[in-house]
């Protein structure tokens, strides 16, 4: 008996691993087996990204608004065709040039062709010189972005008046396509940190945020370079927090900022972003800008009523991302914008608009100003984002975002599906809408819902 057991043991030990262990070999495609034994490196000379994009949009308007929107009424359909280019050229060992541009042609009711339909957005055009290894001097129009959060970036000091029309309302997408600022940027990077200095000069008086009609090829420096600005940023790799401290200054206003992030376990990244400095509140700032640019008459009242005094204003975004094994990532953020509307400000906005319709244009101007500044309208809001890569099938990405006003419970949401048909073609579909009561932030907007269909061809 012992001999039989021993024989079996020896026999088993000499046998290959059980067939189950090699069963997975059957899943290896035949094409893989036929590949050459020693592959060569693939050739790729591409250094830029070029693509054409078409977005067809339908939207529905909300009736019976609490505060009427001044004309013109926006079209309930539009089609925008864009050519997009981003490229970099190495001019010498230590000198390079970066160029980023988007030309769009829009068709919609009420848009004259071609003068109003054509728009060119020169996003970036700048030289980079590396006089000393890991020290860089750059000059030109540069898209400089700071901030670790997704839905609101208090430290993104160069975001005001830079937005370019986009298919998606997702802040991640909005940040992808905006105008840079003419600036001189110097950065030095060492083992464990970096320091950056920025000077952006004033070269133009500010443009009106409504009613302006620049030429189609206008570089729009009257949006991006309307005051002298300075920024100093220090990045350190310390104890897994990756802190970034910033000091920003523009005509009579100085802000400090801080970015922190920290991994928790295998699936969570916690992050926080803060900026603070003396400033007027949103209403006072918007009315002052409207008067300075001639949009509002000098005698226009400050509505809704607010204090004209400056005070220390804090901006904060704190949140976390969580990723599942099934390639789903969720982000949840809380945003605090101290200069934004309080519940009392909203009540005042609706009361004034309801009692005196003649002031409606000025009331909507304040909201338009906040949108142009890419600031939240309200003091407290939450932001949610969900993203699912390879959802159901490979190359299909499903995503959704939502902003919710914590004071009145209103909000906006958007769901999106993007599918890569091939290396060259991508399809996208976006559907979104606003919800809330008639006297709420989002429920008072004229746009109720929208749907956008997108085709992209890469070259």
């Amino acid at each position: 008996m012992r001999t039989a057991v021993a024989f079996c043991f020896v026999l088993c030990a000499a046998m290959p691993a059980d067939a189950q262990e090699n069963g997975d070999l059957d899943r290896i495609p035949q094409a893989v087996q036929n590949e050459p034994a020693e592959p060569a490196a693939p050739q790729s000379n591409a250094h830029g990204t070029y693509y054409a994009e078409d977005d067809f949009a339908l939207s529905s308007a909300r009736g019976d608004l609490a505060v009427a929107v001044p004309p013109p009424t926006s079209s309930d359909w539009s089609n925008r065709t864009s050519l997009d280019a981003f490229d970099q050229w190495t001019l010498s060992e230590r000198l390079s040039f970066t160029f980023s541009d988007r030309f769009s042609l829009t068709e919609a009711d009420g848009i004259g062709f071609p003068a109003e339909a054509s728009r060119n957005a020169l996003r970036e055009a700048y030289f980079t010189w590396e006089p000393v290894t890991q020290t860089f001097v750059e000059f030109g129009r540069i898209n400089l972005k700071n901030g670790i959060a997704l839905g609101f970036n208090p430290t993104d000091f160069f975001k005001a008046n830079t937005a370019v029309s986009q298919a998606s309302a997702d802040p991640s997408t909005l940040r992808s396509d905006r105008l840079g600022t003419l600036m001189l940027r110097m950065q030095t990077i060492w083992d464990g940190g970096s320091a950056t200095f920025v000077y952006a000069p004033k070269i133009h008086t500010p443009r009106q945020i409504v009613g302006a009609d620049p030429g189609w090829i206008d570089p729009s420096f009257d949006q991006t370079n309307t005051t002298d600005r300075f920024m100093l940023a220090l990045n350190l790799e310390v104890a897994d927090f990756s802190p970034q401290a910033l000091i920003y200054h523009e005509s009579g206003r100085t802000k400090a900022g801080l970015n922190l992030s920290y991994p928790i376990g295998q699936s969570v990244i916690a992050y926080g972003e803060w900026a603070g400095g003396n400033a007027p509140d949103l209403i006072a700032e918007a009315i002052a800008f409207g008067k300075a640019t001639g949009t509002l008459p000098a005698v226009a009242p400050v509505v809704p009523p607010t204090s004209a005094s400056r005070a220390f204003q804090n901006d904060l975004a704190v949140g976390a991302s969580w990723t599942s094994e099934k390639k789903i990532t969720l982000n949840l953020e809380y945003h605090f914008h101290q200069a934004g509307f309080t519940g009392a400000d909203w009540r005042g906005w609706f009361d004034v608009g309801g009692a005196n319709p003649a002031l409606a244009p000025e009331l909507w101007y304040v909201r338009g100003y906040a949108s142009a500044q890419q600031q939240p309208m309200s003091r407290h809001q939450i932001f949610l984002r969900a993203d699912w890569q390879d959802a159901f099938v490979t190359d299909l990405e499903l995503s959704g975002i939502a902003f919710v006003n914590l004071t009145d419970g209103s909000g906006m949401m958007q769901v999106a599906a993007n599918y890569n048909l091939s290396d060259a073609w991508s399809l996208g579909a976006y559907a979104g809408g606003t919800f809330g009561g008639r006297r709420s932030e989002w429920g008072s907007l004229p746009n109720a819902s929208s749907a956008i269909f997108q085709v992209v061809r890469y070259f």
Partner: protein, 257 residues
């Protein structure tokens, strides 16, 4: 004289016995690590092809800069996408728990978690450049004859690796290493929940940077039964890589000539 004779006899008896013993499990894993990883900073071009249902669908070309961290002995990686055009210029920094994704279109670096690292194509680099001996405790399960990706029989040590540090990306790894050559043949990678995530076959060993190294790794997705990915390494060469490169602020600065 007798003692000397007895000692000599014992030694003669014991040496073959010692030779028959397999090396310690941890030493096997360390030797296999050296097979996969050159002992110097390097760059290579990595081509990933995804097969869906047996048909090639997506092809991504990455340039990878890798350097062993002097303290953790893990590889820090900078990965830059060079193809397809829609992904051109995207970058991934993997430096211990300090991991960032940079998109040149948004100019923004987003911090990613180890779990997010497992999602993208660049994540499959884990099965290629990870120094497993550092972050895992190995146990020898036995000796088996296993077929490699080319269906050739290989006499292997079968090892079970359990995560032993916070830096370990996978909770558990089953690992088959060929006896004698210490060439990794196969790995099975498990998540925290014990779920089998991917199976890797290492093959097509060629001379690269002074050693025989696998030029192709076949990764069978254990979650998506239709998905198989091949990772092909080419143009592996030494590269002087300053430590300053492995931080997020350097991501927009990396040039690929």
């Amino acid at each position: 004289m007798n003692k000397l004779f007895i000692g000599f006899t014992l030694a003669a008896l014991l040496v073959p016995a010692a030779l028959a013993q397999p090396p310690a499990a941890q030493d096997i894993v360390a030797a296999a690590d050296k097979t996969r990883n050159p002992g110097q900073p390097f760059r290579l071009t990595n081509t990933l092809v995804e097969y869906i249902g047996g048909q090639a669908r997506d092809r991504v070309v990455l340039v990878v800069f890798a350097k062993e961290d002097k303290q953790t002995h893990q590889f820090s990686n900078l990965v830059r996408y060079v193809d397809p055009p829609r992904d051109l210029g995207k970058m991934v920094l993997m430096n211990g728990s300090n991991m960032w994704f940079y998109d040149p279109s948004s100019k923004v670096s987003v911090r990613i978690s180890p779990q997010q690292r497992l999602m993208g194509q660049a994540s499959d680099g884990d099965v290629v450049t990870a120094n497993l001996a550092k972050d895992y405790t190995a146990k020898l399960i036995g000796e088996e004859t296993l077929q490699d990706a080319d269906r050739q029989n290989r006499d292997c040590w079968h090892l079970d690796l359990a995560a032993a540090s916070d830096e370990a990306i996978y909770s558990r790894i089953e690992y088959w290493v060929e006896k004698g050559t210490f060439h990794p043949v196969k790995g099975k990678f498990y998540s925290d929940s014990g779920r089998l995530l991917k199976i890797a076959y290492y093959h097509k060993y060629v001379e690269q940077l002074g050693g025989m190294r696998p030029s192709e790794t076949i990764i069978i997705d254990a979650v998506d039964q239709n998905l198989v990915t091949t990772m092909t390494n080419a143009d592996m060469r030494p590269q002087d890589i300053p430590d300053a490169w492995f931080q997020r602020e350097y991501l927009p600065r990396l040039k690929v000539e």
